[in-house]
């Protein structure tokens, strides 16, 4: 019986996933096609690789956020953690490339700590995650400001920036291959495995669906909750390391990224309040948002109007998802 059930569930999950993924992927491909029509070099391998490189930080944040969202929570602290990573990286390395490797290690430890705090506050103090991570957002931002004195300048050492900036040339087929895409691919593989291929992943879904039922079924809700926040925080540090390679050091690198990451997941069909979502959807959502921003830049829209467009697409995506759930039940 268990086998039969499993097959049915697999079958359903497959059609379900296929239907849901298609929406975000289709929209992304549509956007990308329009981008390609406006600026043909986006259709060449090098253009596509560069697009993926720029989308990588948001996609990584979305992959981390996905775990928290599926478990039924929010992580609003990732944007400030990105800022802290870039600012902290610059303070720790102090322009000496020799410091890069241990600095990155320290940054991951900081991320681990922030994730542990978020998770412990939500799991044991039972504080709603939206408030708990709002608190850490404020605090982490404050730490970044204190550490840097408020107005850091300059750039990270070259070997630190390598992750976001370095590009392999003369690669067959794709011509160029940015390191950022390698990082993104590794994160995707880990996240896909963690969420869709392990018992832990199933527990995360179970908690998001019905935490009480999961607990009664023997899931350790507390430790699983802590784990999802740690995953999200580590993803944020990774995204921060990439973003440090993209531009200079400033205290607003990460501003608003938490909402963009949540938006990316939502566009990709991840359900807020938990229980539903796929990695493919989250990544497709991040690519869709990045394509939207690229498209609007090409069309010469002012920065503020991009926010407006993001708001519109967010509402449409969720209204569409809700409409389809009502129809299909």
């Amino acid at each position: 019986m268990t086998i039969a059930l499993k097959e049915i569930r697999h079958g359903q999950a497959f059609t379900h996933a296929a239907r849901r993924i298609n929406a975000a992927l289709v929209v992304f491909l549509l956007f990308y096609l329009v981008i390609g029509l406006l600026q043909p070099n986006y259709l060449e391998p090098a253009g596509a690789m560069n697009f993926l490189r720029r989308a990588a930080p948001l996609a990584i944040l979305a992959a981390g956020q996905l775990f928290v969202l599926v478990s039924g929570g929010f992580d609003l602290s990732v944007g400030s953690l990105v800022t802290l990573t870039v600012v902290g990286g610059s303070m720790l390395t102090a322009n000496d490339p020799g410091n890069t490797w241990w600095a990155i290690g320290v940054l991951y430890v900081v991320g681990l700590l922030v994730g542990l705090i978020n998770g412990a506050v939500v799991a044991y103090l039972r504080t709603p995650s939206i408030i708990a991570t709002l608190g850490t957002l404020l605090s982490v931002n404050g730490v970044a400001m204190m550490w840097s004195g408020g107005s850091p300048r300059g750039y990270l050492p070259d070997n630190f920036r390598m992750f976001g900036r370095f590009v392999f040339h003369d690669v067959p087929v794709v011509k160029i291959f940015p390191v950022a895409i390698l990082v993104l691919a590794a994160v995707c593989a880990l996240a896909q495995w963690g969420l869709h291929g392990t018992v832990f992943g199933r527990r995360v879904f179970a908690i998001g669906d019905n935490a009480r039922a999961a607990q009664l079924a023997g899931v350790e809700v507390g430790s699983a909750r802590i784990a999802v926040f740690v995953i999200s925080a580590l993803a944020a540090v990774t995204a921060g390391i990439l973003l440090g390679g993209f531009g200079g050091v400033s205290v607003d690198v990460g501003v608003g990224l938490e909402l963009q990451a949540i938006a990316a997941c939502v566009v990709g069909g991840v359900q807020l309040m938990g229980g539903r979502g796929t990695l493919v959807g989250a990544i497709a959502g991040a690519l869709t948002l990045t394509a939207l921003f690229t498209l609007l830049t090409l069309l010469g829209w002012a920065q503020p109007l991009k926010e407006t467009a993001q708001g519109v697409i967010l509402i449409i995506a969720v209204a569409f998802g809700a409409w389809r759930r009502r129809r299909t039940g």
Binding site: P128, I131, A132, L134, L138, S139, M145, T308, V318
Partner: protein, 327 residues
């Protein structure tokens, strides 16, 4: 397990009415304690106390509205952006001319009501999760506003500045206004059918629907009220700053702070339980913290760090005993 579940709500219900008072007294003691400890006793005289109260007005008004949506089981992240829209719209229409004051106020309230209507309809009719619906509408508002205005736009006439600077004896109009608004909101919640329905919808939307309540109208009503308070808060800020700029709402972080004070005031984030007085006590706590940090001469950045920790701690005081597993 079942006995524990029976005990928790009863415990909460007994405690709920006292929470605002405790929070209020705690804030008061903190303020007085810090003032005495740092020797700044003039902060305890009328002027200092009035200054403290004045700090609560802008956040207090919008937090009252936020209380309504959170009680209904929704949330509103668009208030900060709507505050900016209201402030800019008001000062842009007035352009320093007193005869345009009424037009500007009506226009601001009308725009606010429409935004609330849209938020409410998205949440209740299209079933968009309130987090996304109001985040989206906030982004739309902010985008349109920042694309149209890049700096302070227009100005408000002296007559309108009375809203923020006028006073009745030692008490500013604005503080009295906030208090009156809180009393009205409290009556609306405690003594009207709408209030009863609001608690019912927030407590159990499906149950309320089955009991014959038009839950969609209740949700829309709560969102319209919330947006209206954001509009009023924007008008107050325009008056206080003498002009409106497209960043006044975001700089005040009114979206997240209003949610935080509502929850600190003992209103359940999931809806259905809480009230306006707790929210006001939460607003007072925030004002007291700001004032205390100033008296203690804490510099800007550690202030941020402490503030985050205090938000978590203040909410955890309510939640850590709960058996609720939701995140």
């Amino acid at each position: 397990m079942s006995s524990a579940e029976g005990v928790v709500p009863a415990f909460r219900m007994r405690r709920a009415p006292r929470a605002p008072l405790l929070l209020f007294l705690g804030s008061l003691f903190l303020y007085i304690g810090v003032a005495i400890a740092t020797g700044q006793t003039r902060m305890l005289e009328v002027e200092g106390a009035v200054g403290l109260l004045q700090r609560t007005v802008a956040l207090g008004i919008v937090a009252i509205g936020q209380t309504f949506v959170i009680l209904a089981g929704s949330i509103d992240l668009s208030v900060a952006n709507l505050i900016s829209v209201a402030a800019v719209l008001a000062s842009f229409i007035m352009q320093g001319r007193p005869e345009m004051m009424l037009t500007a106020v009506v226009a601001v309230l009308a725009v606010s009501a429409v935004v609330g209507l849209i938020n409410g309809a998205l949440v209740s009719r299209l079933q968009v999760s309130p987090f996304i619906a109001t985040l989206g509408s906030g982004l739309i508002l902010q985008g349109l506003l920042s694309a149209s205005f890049t700096n302070f736009a227009g100005s408000v006439p002296i007559e309108f500045q009375a809203v923020a600077y006028g006073a009745f004896g030692p008490l500013p109009f604005s503080v009295i206004g906030l208090f009156v608004l809180a009393i009205l909101a409290s009556i609306l919640l405690r003594a009207t059918k709408f209030g009863a329905h609001l608690y019912a919808v927030g407590g159990n939307a499906e149950g309320a629907r089955l009991a014959g309540i038009r839950t969609d109208l209740v949700t829309i009503g709560a969102h319209v009220l919330c947006s209206l308070t954001a509009g009023v808060s924007g008008l107050y800020l325009a008056s206080r700053l003498r002009s409106g700029a497209p960043w006044v709402g975001r700089d005040g972080v009114y979206d997240l702070e209003s949610i935080a004070v509502v929850v600190i005031g003992g209103t359940l984030l999931a809806g259905g339980r809480g009230g306006v007085w707790g929210t006001l006590a939460g607003v007072l706590l925030f004002a007291v913290l700001d004032a205390s940090f100033n008296m203690l001469d804490v510099s800007a950045y550690p202030k941020l760090v402490l503030r985050g920790a205090i938000v978590i701690a203040a909410v955890a005081v309510y939640t850590f005993r709960s058996r609720d597993l939701a995140a």
